[in-house]
Symmetry: D2
Subunit: 185 residues, 4 copies
């Protein structure tokens, strides 16, 4: 039997009142429907540091490296702040390096505007490449996030679930392809 | 016996007096040293069109689509003009679409300055992702190209050959991983 | 009396059946409402060349340089093709260089999708900076362009006219600021 | 007599052992040679926050907004980490917004590699535009920073001083142009 793929969902903002948390919860539910995936939400709040650092000896760095090493792929849920990513997400990603190599990564963009964080996605993809992560095309753009969910946290647009499903299918395809090749090399 | 990988080298500028042609020739020689690769230089001059078009019925489009469909990976050799790619390269890439999916792509940047076309590389990588090409990190940056070659076309910096070799090793790894998975799906 | 600002509108695609032509016509009408501006549509179709070239001796290059030199600012109307600009637009912009310096530039993005060409805008802005053009924030994103206009070419969304007006106000502010300073230096 | 321009130098990394501090000190000395400029080094270490936040009520946000409001232009000295900017710099820039409008900004890139942080520069420029800052082309790229300075902190490459001078001349030109226009509007 095929070993499950471990694909953590990274919640990329630590901001007070973050709407991306609702998106991450929704995405988590959808990802959990895939039998062959193990997932969990990794909250950037648990990996906040005071300065970019590469010592790798910090407990938080060690913890993130361990998660990243085990991962077969990554799914980032992140808002766009001023057309780029939150600083805290960048600092967290900068904590590891060899752990990312040759694994695929997808993004769910979040925005209170109408473009779903698409500019953040573009900048983050370039950071991925540097980290030897392989950015896939499939992306879900969550727009108008302030009114997207009910007070109970239920998403009000039925179009997103199939989008997440399609993105995951593509991410899984790449995760399997690359895991198989990593095992053989 | 494993089928050879077909990885064409795309020469991305049609400019008169292009130095990138010398780079493409050098890269071609180095790539040819790999036994398991079939390669050739594809010259953007042969794919020049008067306007971006998606009809797909043009003979040039058909020819490029056929090459792209057969390819297991792509290696672009392109100069940087005003911090981005040549327009003719973009027009050529825009001629195909499904033919690119789930294949890796690498870039050799070329510049008369000291930064080897690194900004063109960043912009081109984002176009790759849209085309469902997977941009790999390994890249070779050819700087100061106007004085890099002898009049006879011989490269004068011995550091580039091992860089091309390392890049190709990584491109081959990804090409094999993705070809195997494409065959299984 | 203040001399009028000359701000040409560049139609950035030569593609057959281009919807951006409708956008450019609409934008032209709106820009023409400003008394202190002289404008005209400059069509990239009239500046198509076979290869990127910097000779500057071509009649088309001369013609574009003359327009660019006279301009106090630029307004680009361009579609997004595969998340970047049309190749023919890049080739046209590459025809000039000193003519652009210290002048502001704005963009109207055009897309058949929902994001109004926003990724093209980001890539084009970086090219602007290289050319010493100053990209301003104000931008109008024309989404879903295939259904935006009536068969008679009339825009069906009343929200765009005020957006173009606001963008132009900002472009004019910057054009005046920079023209005054260029005259003094 | 013309009022002096206030152009703070932002040191963009809080990392332990940061080499960018040496660059900032060198740049500060060079900028101080201009009679018509008032400058100081603003250290991102003094503006570290635990999460991106837009409340604007935090003492650190207030302090930065005050500086930003007073500034006639900005000079960022920042390293490139994984081809983008330090997270702490992004978080600091996100603390203000209207204070930046219609002011020019330049960047000194810093890298331990050979490309002087050029990819960080490209990403940061796009953030600038969002903030209504005007990114100018003039940029200084500090490469190989780990060996660029003596133990005493003296720069060992005489080529950088004239580069900083030229960049400042351009930044000053734009700062004066835009300040004059802001006063008139």
């Amino acid at each position: 039997m095929e070993e499950k793929l471990y694909i953590p969902i990274i919640l990329g903002t630590a901001r007070e009142g973050r709407f991306s948390e609702l998106v991450a919860s929704f995405v988590y539910q959808e990802v959990s429907k895939f039998d062959n995936i193990e997932t969990e939400i990794i909250d950037v709040r648990d990996f906040r540091i005071k300065a970019t650092d590469d010592t790798g000896t910090l407990p938080k760095a060690k913890k993130w490296k361990k998660i990243a090493k085990r991962a077969d792929g990554f799914l980032i849920v992140s808002p766009e702040y001023n057309h780029s990513f939150p600083g805290e997400l960048k600092m967290m990603l900068d904590l590891a390096y060899p752990e990312y190599a040759r694994k695929p990564a997808a993004i769910c963009g979040v925005s209170s505007g109408g473009f779903g964080g698409v500019r953040m996605v573009e900048q983050l993809r370039l950071v991925f490449i540097t980290l030897k992560l392989l950015p896939i095309r499939a992306t879900v753009y969550f727009s108008n996030v302030k009114t997207l969910f009910t007070k109970g946290g239920k998403i009000q647009d039925e179009g997103y679930a199939p989008q997440v499903k399609a993105m995951m299918s593509d991410l899984i395809w790449h995760a399997n392809a690359l895991r198989a090749a990593r095992k053989n090399s």
